[in-house]
Symmetry: C2
Subunit: 328 residues, 2 copies
């Protein structure tokens, strides 16, 4: 797989524009509040209100899976742009500021009506695992008219997040972005995002991946859910039949790249302590796609992914705290 | 000095209700953006907008000097309440959540009109020093009618922050709170907050401190500014003539307590690295007043202050990240 190096953009990301609200909690908190550990659960206004009230004091920081990935690519020295929807409210301003000042182009105007900017209530347990409860707000209303075709055509890779696959207009937005990218001969990439998402959308996604996706990102639970198996090796072989490249992360076991009939196993970049796993997959994808943009081979791409993921899990928050260029 | 242990509240704090926006910057950033290092500078909407645009990605977390102090007292196991003004906006919700869930009573309804909730753009340089640029918004409009007399009478100590001394109605609010506390035989406390604040309000504050304040908190620069001297020892002696107790912090040199004609020097609690000095003075005051509430002597109060300050400077953000009860 080779990303066209002559285009103005390396990657354009399409996803839910979200501000994360992060607090450290005990395991008991998850039980008491019926939070599904390690997952991303969609919540409504009422649940957001009651769960937030129960949470300890937290910090707010910009998130959103694809946006985190774009921030990672910019931090690595790549050229990234972002498509997502915020409101003209305080959290929308925070999201725009953090995304732009992190070096990612994000210029679409904020919506002036509708629901507020999305937020995700993230509980981090002492083991570093994150459990996310997302109120999608305006972000879920991304529609095909929000996709800038010229922008998509100007990027070597179009990267879409599975989390966005929720409302009909957002599904159409993803399909439209993928169609435009594909017609222009660009690489189309999708992250499966969450095993519960895969479970909800398995049939649609199997078709989408087979028809339209060149490069898929998934973790072990997600790829296993896709093929309704407990056997990772089998799932890896099955997804490899649908796409040109599958980059599969396995937490502490490293990652596996399936490409051109080969399987490549890559170890993790050691970190002193997993403080907050939020953003691990997002930053792996960032490193991997940055690797493609500089012409690295599959092993090089996966290693860049591991380095970027290792940085983001060593602190609270899903975007890099240091310039990732200093780590590579 | 003895705080009445039979009252429902140990301390009620009165101050500017602020959400902090914190980012790590270089020394050059401060120069380029004309930021006064180590100070709290008031900024208007326009400057807030241009400075925020120039700042790197950051995190949002609740702050406000007196509110940080109340969070510290609650974290130490004391009973604290807070009086300050937020709007019914997203940052106002964040401030209320963090304050209440940190164990501080804060029940006054949000303003439904007027300026937005206050925010402070805080730049943290590699030396751990913080430089604050505060857009006061609705917080500056605290007025005597916002002071709940019954609440003030129910607290052993009423603690006011000098930062709030800006608009006429806020000055009246402080005077009113102090008068109510004093008439009820409670301890009246003031922090001088910032040397530039002292410089702006020296004459008014000399009168206020002499007439109404029992317990004053100040750092070296603030107490020196109060008496327009470079000689800390001389300033310490002068403020001791105006109040029953003066608790004076000197950064790495520890703190000095002037009380009953005596001077007591207390060392700092060692920390591995000063990550972010924001909240150091606020948490020192928290520890000191918590000490008064449990009947500690002056040395014990100062030591509790040092422990609480030591925790807060070891991480980003101005409120404790661990239950301070675990440190004492």
């Amino acid at each position: 797989m080779r990303a066209n190096p002559d285009l103005p953009l390396d990657v354009v990301g399409v996803g839910n524009a979200i501000v994360d609200v992060i607090a450290n909690v005990s395991e008991e908190f998850l039980t008491e509040q019926d939070v599904v550990k390690g997952a991303m659960t969609l919540i409504d206004t009422e649940r957001a209100s009651s769960l937030y009230a129960a949470m300890p004091p937290g910090i707010e920081t910009s998130g959103g899976s694809a946006a985190n990935t774009m921030a990672g690519i910019a931090s690595l020295g790549g050229h990234a742009s972002y498509i997502g929807k915020v409101r003209d409210d305080q959290l929308g301003d925070v999201f725009r500021h953090d995304t732009q000042s992190g070096g990612v182009a994000f210029d679409a105007p904020a919506a002036t009506t509708g629901e507020p900017t999305a937020r995700s209530l993230i509980q981090v347990t002492p083991d570093g695992e994150r459990s996310m409860n997302t109120f999608l707000g305006i972000s879920a209303y991304l529609s095909p008219s929000d996709i800038d075709d010229t922008l998509v055509e100007s990027a070597a890779i179009t990267y879409c997040e599975g989390y966005l696959w929720d409302r009909p207009e957002a599904k159409d937005a993803i399909r439209h972005a993928m169609n435009v990218a594909s017609a222009a001969g660009r690489i189309v990439s999708l992250t499966l995002s969450d095993s519960f998402c895969v479970d909800r959308h398995r049939d649609e996604w199997l078709g989408l991946v087979a028809d339209r996706v060149d490069l898929v990102f998934a973790n072990e639970a997600e790829v296993c859910s896709m093929f309704e198996t407990d056997d990772f090796d089998s799932a890896a072989l099955q997804i490899a039949e649908l796409v040109e490249v599958a980059a599969l992360t396995r937490s502490a076991k490293g990652s596996v790249v399936m490409a051109g009939g080969n399987r490549l196993d890559i170890g993790v970049t050691p970190v002193e302590r997993v403080v907050d796993a939020t953003g691990a997959g997002d930053l792996y994808a960032a490193g991997f796609m940055y690797g493609l943009s500089i012409g690295a081979d599959m092993a090089g791409c996966a290693e860049l992914g591991s380095i970027a993921a290792g940085e983001v899990i060593s602190h609270v928050g899903a975007r890099p705290h240091v310039e990732l260029t200093t780590l590579i």
